[in-house]
């Protein structure tokens, strides 16, 4: 059974992730690249300084000359990043598929804990709940962000993001289990609480990124996420149905 859950989650994530990566390649990444051209020297660094500062030699490591290291890995600056073009696209595709697998396994786990199977019949509902939990609710406080836009402290934003996702997701699980009036009240409170507490506020600085890029980015990323979640939920449910039917048809004891 565990194998069925993992197989369904991973196949659905692979398909939904690859589709999403394709949309990202044509509609999202161009906006990120465009925004990066506005990132000024005064803006945030990607941590180059931190890398230099962190550079310590572990005890016992032979001293090395940095010139040699640079020569041996010619194209590697002080901080590695995928090269623009194929390499960057490949990494983005991989990261998107892995994130898709992460989301699929998390909703698979929730379905196990809550004892609500993900099926073809309710897959779109799972997708809608996933979209609201992991995309829409966090974006309601932290709008999709382009490189170069002013933003609050990273850790504070990550904390708020995670807290919002947990609270919103918990509300959906509760509503799926019971429609008692107390449950509805608790769910509303759970969904509203992160927004009443409020997301970390970005410093009031002028953005390096033109407004039309930022609005386009917000709309396209949310739209892409909606497609991702609809496909993931539906496909996950379809595969669950398929594997369950296959297991049931297998003679007892034939599968370890």
């Amino acid at each position: 059974m565990i194998r069925n859950l993992f197989a369904a989650a991973l196949f659905a994530a692979l398909a939904a992730g690859l589709l999403t990566a394709a949309i990202q390649h044509f509609r999202v990444t161009p906006l990120i690249l465009h925004a990066e051209t506005f990132e000024g020297e005064g803006g945030h660094s990607h941590g180059e300084a931190a890398v230099v500062a962190d550079h310590e030699h572990a005890p016992g490591t032979a001293e090395h000359s940095h010139a040699d290291a640079a020569a041996s890995t010619a194209a590697e600056p002080e901080e590695w990043a995928p090269q623009d073009g194929f390499e960057r696209t490949a990494y983005t595709t991989l990261a998107t598929v892995l994130a898709a697998a992460g989301f699929a396994l998390v909703i698979g786990a929730i379905s196990m804990f809550a004892n609500i199977p993900i099926t073809f019949a309710n897959g779109l509902l799972w997708g809608a709940a996933g979209f609201i939990t992991f995309s829409l609710a966090p974006a309601y406080g932290l709008a999709p962000e382009l490189p170069g836009m002013p933003a609050a402290d990273l850790f504070a934003r990550q904390l708020w993001w995670v807290g919002t996702a947990i609270a919103t997701g918990a509300a959906f699980v509760l509503l799926a289990k019971t429609r008692a009036s107390w449950a509805i009240a608790v769910s509303v409170a759970l969904i509203a609480a992160p927004h009443i507490i409020g997301a970390p506020v970005a410093p009031d600085e002028p953005s390096a990124v033109p407004a039309h890029l930022a609005t386009e980015f917000a709309a396209i990323t949310l739209g892409t996420s909606a497609v991702f979640w609809a496909v993931l939920g539906t496909l996950f449910g379809r595969l669950n149905d398929l594997f369950a039917a296959r297991s049931a048809a297998t003679p007892i004891g034939a599968i370890a």
């Binding site: 990120i32 998390v106 990550q158």
Partner: protein, 62 residues
């Protein structure tokens, strides 16, 4: 898993509580590891490799 002591029928729909808990914990651990790695980890290699995905999926990035 390999303890197929399920009573003959309906393997498909009703899982025992312990089966669900084991599957859920395993899936949650792997899923969260993947999400932390792609969406949240501070390591610059993970950050830069997953950079465009983080922005595209709405994770806080910079």
């Amino acid at each position: 898993m390999n303890t197929t002591i399920n009573t003959t029928t309906a393997v498909s729909t009703s899982l025992s509580l312990s089966q669900r808990l084991i599957a859920g914990v395993l899936a949650l651990m792997l899923g969260l590891t993947l999400l932390v790695g792609t969406g949240f980890a501070g390591d610059f290699r993970l950050h830069n490799g997953a950079h465009d995905t983080r922005h595209a999926m709405g994770f806080p990035c910079h």
